[in-house]
């Protein structure tokens, strides 16, 4: 494993109509840094700039499509990595 782990990861789940989930998924997928993280949950992993930039786009897309609650957790790698 000779490359460092992602500088930042953002884990989010969206509550709302199916359209909101689809909109978020579509916005995330085009970023190239999105990964499934559980039922209805998505993880963005990459540089801080990429993750925060994509997260903004994804959240906007979800809210525009009727999302009424979005849980987001941001994590930076621990010192041991």
């Amino acid at each position: 494993m000779p490359v460092p782990p992602a500088e930042l990861s953002a884990h989010f789940s969206i509550a709302g109509p199916g359209e909101a989930l689809e909109a978020a998924r579509a916005a995330a997928s085009s970023s190239g840094i999105a990964h499934e993280a559980g039922p209805g949950e998505t993880l963005l992993g990459g540089s801080r700039a990429d993750v925060l930039g994509t997260l903004g786009v994804v959240l906007s897309a979800a809210l525009d499509a009727g999302a009424y609650r979005i849980d987001v957790r941001l994590e930076a790698p621990t010192e041991s990595r």
Binding site: V3, G45, T78
Partner: protein
């Protein structure tokens, strides 16, 4: 205070390792031997399909079985439901789909291992079976297996003039099959729930702290509440870098409140860890008529399987070392790794460099034949040297004795004709049709982690007086996976402190990270950390004044922790340029083979090798690493391949997945060079991987010399040799 330099068992001596005799006698306690009173046994339900949707999951039949204490699914994972070394994309337990045969779907704890396995088999899963994506070439345009598509990484390198042309051009297409690490101790461990709500995990692994962090994330616990202690490891070779049963055992232990042991059988082990990436490679070499390399162009395609594991690093390494240890003025390299529904692939000894070494060395032989130049002379003529530049633009700052290594192996006397026959002395052949071949190869690889990763190591050393004599205790989280690291730590402490009594404490997460036992880095990094801690202790002793060592320590033990960091490295840019690697290790091999060209049977008569190790901390261990690495290289050349058909593994056993035995291993003629790396502790290099890198192409080159067959793929099969 002066250090007693005549103490026995220091750096440079062939100190006997403490685990050697117990392993040979069967007395060594592996993680599969762990036991706790009242413990339960875990078992895993795995997908039989390489790709399917999960319509429904019914655990009731399993729960109804007497003796079953828990049946858990993804719904019972309290924290992050995915894990992964570089990208957390692999489900702890699958929820709506499976992407490879063997993917974990549910786990069971029961009072007997057979009960647990029986209950796992009773879980009802309604799968909608889907057509798997199994051809990596087709994966680019196939339905995405993951949200970001199937291209996991592309590394593009432009070096010099990527449009360069040459007087002489040779091309070739090459393939490497899916090799398994084939460690002998299957994945196993024991999770014990703790009173503080955390868990203690005893497990065989390569990297304790990254296991801890991933387990903690999935259990939704702070890392401090997941305490990992290394248990007896039965080999690793990269296969224990990823999680296997770690989260599962901890989930079951916390759920039941009882210790839970999990131990894979041999068949399950093949599904429980990653493998070496299969590769397809197209190469074009251009040279002058005199034999000077002008350019190398290549396209490398690696099958990453269903999940990322270490794929992005393997892709990068394949690109970095695609041209081999040669002075190549111009290069155009594209290395890709893609997701498929095949078994996940990740780290394995020499990763990335193994695949491309097979191709670039075949190309060098092809070029030599075209130019009618001796293949060793062609390599010498183009050899990389210290101060040279590799295609990523980095300068070689350490000795790069490619010419010396080639001279060493080529100067050795050749073995005499043998009375032993390929296929043995039965009735396969009486010598008719047997041809001898000789082949050469040279390779190199990075030591330590690259591309900006500060993979430091931590060591705590405590010097006290016990029983009237000084005692040094060394505590690290470095995983002894069979490479002899415990002995190395002892030797360095003895050497630095002049104390004969050294105790290496069990590796655990109660001390800072040591990084992984991989990338030939552990002696370099953890050895360096132990050295630094000992040097600090020496400084403290000097501060305490002159006198006998025991008197200076007295009732005030010295306890010091130090981290060792290698020099900084940097990511590759868009054109693949950057000072990405810490340092490099080089080796050369000459193989002599006897081949029955009618039956395709092979006997490797002898391997001669030369390797620069910088400094042999333990010469006997160095020899062992080199011989073991050659055995794995021989396995890839001649027999080791996981047979995957339609995404399904056909040979998940040591009956059908063949590895070399002592009868397959030839004598190894060994020349160890000790050219110090100025940036390394004691000048040492990593030793573990180079023997695996160029031994495979040397053997195949010898087969080509004996048969005249092109042999574009490893492992070489008898029908390839016979030409049918």
């Amino acid at each position: 205070m002066s250090v007693e330099t005549t103490v026995r068992g220091g750096v440079g001596e062939s100190v006997r390792r403490p685990d050697g005799i117990p392993k040979v006698k069967g007395d060594f306690a592996y993680s599969s031997d762990l036991w706790a009173d009242g413990m339960l046994w875990g078992a895993t339900l795995r997908s039989p399909h390489p790709r399917a949707r999960i319509r429904e999951l019914n655990i009731a039949p399993a729960l109804a079985i007497r003796g079953v204490h828990a049946v858990l699914t993804h719904e019972d994972v309290p924290g992050r439901k995915v894990y992964g070394l570089e990208i957390p994309d692999q489900p702890v337990l699958a929820w709506d789909q499976v992407r490879y045969q063997g993917e974990a779907v549910a786990i069971v704890a029961a009072d007997h291992p057979e009960t647990a396995r029986h209950a796992a088999a009773r879980i009802e899963v309604d799968y909608e079976v889907l057509e798997p994506i199994t051809d990596p070439e087709l994966a680019f345009d196939a339905d995405p297996l993951h949200p970001s598509g199937n291209l996991l990484r592309h590394v593009h390198i432009e070096h010099g003039d990527p449009e360069a042309t040459a007087e002489v051009v040779v091309t070739g297409d090459y393939e490497v099959g899916m090799q398994d690490q084939a460690f002998l101790g299957p994945e196993s461990g024991l999770a014990v729930p703790a009173e503080d709500g955390g868990v203690d995990l005893f497990v065989s692994t390569q990297w304790l702290h990254v296991d801890r962090d991933q387990v903690a994330a999935s259990l939704d616990l702070p890392p401090a509440k997941v305490r990992i202690t290394l248990s007896g490891v039965g080999g690793a070779f990269g296969a224990r870098e990823d999680l296997s049963m770690q989260v599962h055992a901890c989930l079951l232990a916390l759920h039941t409140g009882k210790p839970v042991k999990m131990m894979y059988g041999r068949e399950e082990s093949f599904f429980g860890h990653v493998h070496r990436h299969p590769a397809r490679m197209h190469y074009e070499h251009g040279a002058t008529r005199d034999g000077d390399l002008v350019y190398v162009k290549c396209r490398i395609l690696l099958d990453g399987g269903a999940y990322a594991s270490s794929s992005t690093a393997v892709c990068s390494n394949a690109a970095s070392f695609a041209c081999g240890p040669y002075d190549v003025p111009n290069a155009l390299i594209d290395s890709y790794v893609v997701y498929t529904d095949n078994p996940p692939c990740g780290a394995m000894r020499g990763f990335g460099a193994v695949q491309t070494c097979f191709a670039h060395e075949a190309q060098m032989d092809k070029l030599a034949a075209t130019l009618e130049i001796d293949p060793v002379e062609l390599r010498r003529r183009n050899a990389l040297a210290e101060g040279g530049t590799i295609p990523t633009g980095a300068t070689i700052r350490c000795p790069a004795p490619v010419v010396e290594l080639l001279d060493s192996v080529s100067a050795r006397p050749l073995p005499p004709p043998s009375t032993a026959m390929p296929g043995g002395h039965s009735n396969t052949t009486h010598g008719e049709g047997v041809r001898r071949g000789i082949g050469y190869a040279v390779g190199y690889k990075n030591v330590g982690y690259s591309e900006g990763f500060d993979d430091y190591s931590t060591a705590r050393v405590r010097l006290s007086v016990a029983g009237g004599e000084p005692l040094a205790e060394v505590h690290t989280a470095a995983a002894e996976v069979g490479q002899g690291l415990v002995t190395v730590q002892e030797q360095i402490a003895r050497h630095e402190l002049g104390v004969e009594r050294v105790l290496v404490l069990p590796a655990d997460t109660q001390v800072g990270s040591a990084g992984s036992s991989s990338a030939s880095r552990q002696t370099y990094m953890t050895g360096g950390a132990v050295k630094l801690a000992c040097e600090a202790i020496r400084e403290e002793l000097e501060r305490r004044g002159p006198g006998e060592l025991a008197d200076l320590i007295g009732d005030d033990p010295i306890d010091i922790t130090r981290e060792h960091h290698h020099r900084p490295t940097f990511p590759l840019d868009a054109k693949g340029q950057g000072d990405a690697h810490v340092t490099f290790a080089f080796a050369a091999h000459r193989a002599v083979v006897d081949v029955d060209i009618e039956l395709g049977l092979v006997r490797v008569v002898e391997i001669a090798t030369a390797q620069d190790v910088g400094k042999a901390i333990n010469p006997q261990a160095v020899e062992g690493q080199i011989e073991g690495g050659i055995a794995q290289g021989l396995g890839l050349a001649l027999m080791e391949e996981i047979q995957v058909v339609g995404g399904e593994v056909r040979n998940a056993s040591f009956t059908d997945y063949l590895i070399p035995t002592v009868l397959d291993m030839p004598p190894v003629e060994l020349d160890v060079l000790e050219l110090a790396d100025p940036g390394a502790p004691y000048g040492l290099r990593g030793v573990g991987e180079p023997p695996t890198i160029s031994s495979t192409p040397a053997i195949v080159a010898a087969l080509r010399a004996a048969t005249g067959a092109e042999l574009r793929r490893v492992p070489v099969r008898p029908d390839h040799i016979v030409g049918i």
